[in-house]
Symmetry: C2
Subunit: 153 residues, 2 copies
DNA sequence: CACGATTGAGTTGTGCACAATTAAGTTGTG
DNA sequence: CACAACTTAATTGTGCACAACTCAATCGTG
């Protein structure tokens, strides 16, 4: 049990609120750029994961994005309807598994997608080194939280 | 136009993805704690804004949380249905404005809510000073992005 | 081999986010 | 005063997130 010594926690003083706001702000910056490709930010993340390594399973993609099948499945359905990926069930002899493969059209977005990440990075007002430091700090933060996830009383 | 010198942008190297993941992770840490109060994280943010200053308008709350009326209105409807706030239209002579007021029940959550922010801060694995530094860095980041929002080509 | 336990993907239901729109109320200007 | 421009909150529609669940396929053990 933690005693609350402070007065009212103020919104602007909360690190978690800053995180929540920053995350939405940067996705908002991606939005108009990704719109031209017909993608949302989570869809873009899936494509990034596939550009890195094509033919991954749904579970593997979920692990990479930290999303469960309830989020990933419909997301993949939309990406498939848009013609950017193709799903194949049982492609490795296990009829439960579905592997996801880039179409020509999905693979072709890679260079434009890469440009977009550069544009957004540039708009952050931070140097490359600062961005790396921030990223590492955030990953450290996420890691710490995940290890304590169920441990909070 | 920014040239893409790099190879495929890797998911784990992206600061924006780290931000997106960290934000969801910390909200996930709040979730079981807020569940006991019958609140979601955005609902908790609204209450924090009201504990800080009660009787704010919908627009004012939206500015504080960086959310538009399309998000805030239904959120307030649920908070009202749960008995934590009350909405009053035209309370200041302007029939367009709706002011939002804490009920006794909503005001009573403040100390338990404060405790929760402390618990979550403690689970971050960071010192108070580190958290403040991270928060300031994130707010700086958000500010930089907001000024460049429409300026990206 | 039988069969309970587990795995993998998908579905359902709720609650954000956000764009676009609506509708009522207010303000500014001629 | 008239009326167009603006403000304010709410609604509609789409797409995440996430919990809870379903169901088929596979695995582990006797």
């Amino acid at each position: 049990m933690v005693l609350c010594m402070d007065a009212t926690p103020r919104l602007r003083e909360q690190a978690c609120f800053a995180l929540y706001t920053a995350s939405r702000a940067v996705i908002g910056l991606y939005r108009p750029l990704l719109d031209r490709l017909g993608l949302t930010y989570p869809q873009f993340l899936v494509l990034m994961a596939l550009w890195e390594s094509d033919g991954r399973t749904v579970t593997d993609l979920g692990d990479a994005l930290q999303l469960d099948s309830g989020t990933v499945s419909p997301l993949l359905k939309r990406l498939e309807a848009a013609g950017f990926v193709e799903r194949r069930r049982g492609s490795n002899g296990d009829e439960r598994r579905v592997t996801v493969h880039l179409t020509e059209s999905g693979a072709a977005l890679e260079s434009r997608g890469c440009e977009i990440t550069q544009v957004v990075g540039g708009a952050s007002g931070m140097s490359h080194d600062e961005l790396i430091a921030l990223r590492d700090k955030l990953n450290e933060f996420t890691q710490a939280i995940r290890t304590r996830e169920t441990a909070t009383e």
